[in-house]
Symmetry: C2
Subunit: 248 residues, 2 copies
């Protein structure tokens, strides 16, 4: 258990901004990863030394809107403290050496599992997305381009595909902002259908951290903010990852 | 437009039970499909003459729990008026000859799209599910066996994968019960994680139909009902499908 260090992150989370901290993130050294605070959490999720493919990088299926907004935020990782979160095939890759503090009788065959939002391998067919996280403001942006395998009504993204991606963006944001690990509840109000192949921007904010829970909100809209596709909220339970002794 | 016939279904929906109707369903003749009432709606969704693969049939990946409960409900289609809903690659296959009453600039390439909950082709890897609908009681059961590509926390189904399947089961149930077509809102409260490869049973009920909206609830639990995985509710907007003149 690495409770002491992680507790600092939670306490910092309660008080909001983390001045100066964000400058450290792009230069963060994995070798000294498990110190304390949000830096620790970001470093664990952003583990750059993994051999796993990073799905959060541009590919040929990304449209011009997705690409140009990606580059805009990439620029902000250099100047405004945003962090581009890598996205691996499984959450196991994000938390190497750690495990959930849950008693589980689950089948845990590690070789053949995928994070749900990375379940479709072929570029452009399913989920194309990248999450940028802003530690000092405890917020995230997720750029989402739904492919044809995410269909609900003909020609449009399934409401469930958007709900699942918001939940996934919530979960990474909740964890990085205050060790929110498990979804307690999730609400979504749909305003307009998202055409397949277009860009939707998820704007996620941590509203508060209270009573061992992280409360988040999300507005999903078009790039020009003229069209709101959905509004959502969610609550995550704070839990601390345990060191995985089976790895040693 | 086939408004007249469909309006009957909506009106019937307001008054609840449809005595005697359910006996017609298993023997329903697609050739006389577009009469009126819930029979019309069921026939459109259950269109048996399609050449599309029906994903709601057992395959080698189904575990003993899933298989035996499937056969239990299959028996009820003969004796208690339940209807096993077929499940095709796209909603286009469910509503052949019709289209949504939406103005759309969406890319509608029909050849390369998939219903989100059928996005993973290989048996057992992704969503394995089958929905049984009970017209006279306006309720559904969905048997769900999440595969390893639906992972969230290591070893467990992603909360978003369950949310998406509940939304999908809601949408079929809302449509068949009262032409509820589009999700307005969706709420889910998670109680316990679902181990990958196990069986979860979604119990969906139409709570009311009011002000052009269909209100639904869902309890997701283990087969023995001893474990509640999640509780959800959702609201769907009533809309009528339009005849697709481009098909003629």
């Amino acid at each position: 258990m690495l409770r002491t260090g992680f507790q600092v992150a939670v306490i910092l989370g309660h008080h909001g901004a983390l001045p100066g901290l964000t400058h450290l993130l792009p230069r963060f050294n994995p070798a000294s990863a498990f110190g304390s605070s949000t830096v620790t959490l970001v470093s664990r999720v952003c583990w750059e030394m993994t051999e796993s493919k990073n799905y959060a990088l541009p590919n040929a299926s990304w449209g011009p809107d997705m690409l140009s907004l990606y580059h805009e935020f990439l620029e902000k990782t250099k100047t405004e403290g945003w962090v581009r979160l890598p996205s691996f095939r499984s959450n196991r890759d994000h938390i190497q050496g750690f495990k959930l503090p849950l008693k589980s009788s689950a089948n845990s065959d590690k070789s053949d599992s995928r994070l749900f939002t990375r379940c479709i391998e072929r570029e452009g067919q399913g989920y194309e997305y990248v999450i940028f996280f802003q530690p000092s403001e405890r917020k995230s942006i997720c750029l989402f381009q739904p492919g044809p395998y995410l269909e609900g009504a003909p020609g449009f993204a399934h409401g469930g595909s958007l709900a699942a991606l918001i939940d996934e963006t919530f979960s990474k944001t909740a964890y990085l902002s205050g060790e929110g690990l498990l979804t307690v509840n999730f609400n979504i109000r749909f305003k307009k259908l998202i055409p397949l192949g277009s860009l939707a921007v998820l704007n996620v904010n941590v509203e508060k951290i209270e009573d061992q829970k992280v409360y988040l909100s999300c507005v999903t809209q078009s790039r020009d903010q003229q069209t709101v596709y959905a509004k959502a909220s969610g609550t995550f339970l704070q839990m601390q990852l345990e060191e995985d002794s089976s790895q040693h």
